[in-house]
């Protein structure tokens, strides 16, 4: 199995350390930015399960992100904070159910057609929220009170509190990462890898490939739901734009930018994408031109994404001795 990906334990732990102490020293704004990056990292990793590990290039992953965010809105009472116990499972469940239903449709197609059909279905969900009064229509909808975690009368966590929220996001990021790592080593993970490598053979070996893909699709959708839940909580504001095809494109870009099928790459991609946006938009009015140029250049010149860059540099320094 392609378990040849060596996880640089040291780097991971160092990252975790920096992330866990950052709010103690960093300014509010950068803590929030980092929170956003971590949310996007969860989102990107969930997509990596499909794109990088199962070979399903979904161009509609934002649908599940968005559905979870809207679930938060619909479940939250108007004048009281909602309970985390209720909202998080509800949001994740909503995303998973949506992934199940959409999966039944889209997984019947393959390859390039799959890309298009996922795009079209996500767009359909976009219009459901955009054109129906369900979630405030095209103007979006606000959450007046963020969820909180209570046991009895004591409030343990308040997601409206930036510091609480930061650590909840960090915790969920780590949990998602660990969960995916475990999943990838499990029989299901191996089966998904087999499907990516040779779907036809999996079928003739007796794997009910459709069901496995559906399982992967639902899990990825549910994890995207975790990210969507967090995103709704961070800003307390949900609009149809969070499930537009641009969002699907952006998260796909994060996965590619970082290097797909590595999990770490997805997180790196999320970081790079958000930081690039920050830097470019501060540089010029026409910053999207720079963004577009970077995308084109990465695609043309860096097929393995940013995480392949380190290998390339290493190879260059070492002198081409090793063959990757």
């Amino acid at each position: 199995m392609s378990a040849a990906i060596k996880t640089p334990r040291g780097a991971l732990l160092a990252t975790l350390l920096v992330l866990s102490i950052f709010p103690l020293f960093g300014s509010d704004y950068y803590s929030e930015l980092l929170t956003k990056i971590m949310i996007m990292a969860i989102f990107a990793m969930s997509l990596d399960l499909l794109v990088g590990f199962t070979g399903l290039v979904s161009f509609g992953h934002a649908a599940f992100f968005g559905i979870a965010a809207y679930a938060v809105v619909l479940v939250s009472p108007q004048y009281d904070p909602s309970s985390l116990w209720l909202v998080l499972p509800a949001a994740v469940l909503a995303a998973a159910v949506a992934a199940f239903v959409i999966g039944l449709f889209v997984l019947r197609t393959k390859g390039i057609y799959f890309i298009m059909v996922t795009l079209a279905f996500a767009q359909m969900i976009y219009f459901v929220f955009h054109d129906s009064p369900l979630g405030g229509g095209s103007d979006g909808v606000f959450i007046n009170f963020k969820p909180e975690l209570r046991i009895g009368e004591t409030q343990l966590l308040d997601l409206g509190n930036a510091a609480h929220f930061y650590y909840v996001v960090l915790l969920l990021l780590v949990a998602t990462y660990v969960f995916l790592r475990i999943l990838l080593r499990s029989p299901l993970g191996h089966a998904l890898a087999g499907i990516k490598s040779n779907e036809h053979r999996m079928l003739s070996l007796g794997f009910p490939v459709f069901l496995y893909k559906l399982a992967g699709f639902v899990i990825a959708g549910a994890l995207a739901g975790v990210a969507g839940f967090l995103s709704a909580c961070q800003f307390g504001f949900v609009t149809p734009e969070i499930l537009s095809w641009h969002q699907s494109g952006n998260v796909l870009l994060m996965v590619i930018l970082g290097g797909m099928g590595t999990l770490n790459g997805a997180a790196i991609g999320a970081f790079a994408f958000v930081v690039l946006q920050e830097v470019f938009s501060a540089l010029t009015k026409h910053w999207q031109f720079l963004m577009g140029t970077v995308i084109v250049l990465v695609v043309m010149l860096l097929p393995g994404g940013l995480s392949s860059l380190t290998q390339r540099v290493r190879r260059l320094l070492v002198g081409g001795g090793s063959n990757g």
Partner: protein, 288 residues
């Protein structure tokens, strides 16, 4: 709804559907033959519309502008294929999708840098500016009928090109097996370049043709892109005939959706899509 109104709505549906076909046909050609999902298709439509505006202002005549625009957009398509896409055929579909995603951002900003962000109109040529009285209150602009006529002519031309010409045969062969065609000594690279240029030109042409009616404004490409994708998804992979049927179906669904179930007008097209996919996961028609 009385009969006259119904017939006029039917005309509206057909007219919208035909224009949709024209925009989507280039997308489905490139998609079916080259296996590229061209997200920048909407940008080419936008580019065409802006060309119609700029060239009509410069030459004073929409038809001259369209002719120049066709040459320009074919050239752009040719260069893009040569410079970018031809280097990606060995790669995953994903890379091509992302490439076109990046191009959208670039084209939109290039447009902003060159022409600015204002809304512009394009004049309907004098000879087509009349209207035909349909009911006592409503008349129908001749230019819209002219657009529909052009769309029908192009549909027939494309059908003929693909069914009955050598190029069409090669195109059909190329769509099924790139290596095989190559081994027959046919220059597949050239065919791909031509097909891409044709696709770009079709999108730009649709933009130019529609410009006098739709006017030109920033972000107009994104609006047509998604609906074009729905056309292709419903019609089936790379099927020009499928795109034709799908575009007309969407025209009907959209027009009558707006009249009959106004509260869900934005959704009717997607409900149609879901229904079709439930019945046929790969669209109505699977091949050219």
């Amino acid at each position: 709804m009385d009969l006259t109104t119904f017939l006029i709505q039917l005309l509206n549906a057909l007219q919208y559907g035909l224009l949709l076909f024209l925009v989507a046909s280039g997308l489905t050609l490139i998609f079916g033959i080259m296996g590229i999902i061209n997200l920048a298709h909407g940008s080419f439509y936008m580019m065409g519309a802006y060309m119609a505006f700029a060239l009509t202002s410069a030459t004073g005549n929409l038809f001259v502008a369209i002719l120049l625009g066709i040459v320009l957009s074919a050239l752009i398509g040719f260069l893009l294929e040569w410079g970018l896409f031809s280097r990606l055929y060995k790669r995953d579909h994903l890379d091509q999708v992302l490439l076109t995603y990046g191009l959208i951002l670039m084209f939109e900003e290039i447009r902003s840098m060159i022409v600015g962000d204002d809304v512009h109109g394009v004049r309907i040529p004098e000879m087509l500016s009349a209207s035909i009285q349909l009911s006592e209150t409503l008349s129908y602009p001749v230019y819209r009928l002219f657009m529909s006529g052009v769309c029908i002519v192009l549909a027939v031309l494309m059908y003929w090109l693909i069914r009955h010409t050598r190029l069409g045969m090669m195109i059909r062969a190329g769509s099924s097996n790139r290596e095989m065609v190559q081994s027959l000594g046919i220059n597949i690279d050239l065919i791909y370049r031509l097909v891409f240029a044709l696709g770009v030109t079709l999108a730009a042409f649709a933009g130019m043709l529609a410009a006098p009616v739709s006017s030109v404004y920033p972000g107009m490409g994104n609006q047509v892109l998604i609906i074009c994708f729905v056309v292709v998804v419903i019609g089936g992979v790379g099927s020009v005939w499928g795109a034709f049927v799908a575009a007309l179906l969407i025209g009907l669904a959209d027009t009558f959706g707006k009249v009959i179930i106004p509260d869900f007008a934005g959704l009717t097209v997607y409900l149609l899509m879901a229904a079709v996919l439930l019945w046929r996961p790969e669209g109505i028609f699977r091949r050219i």
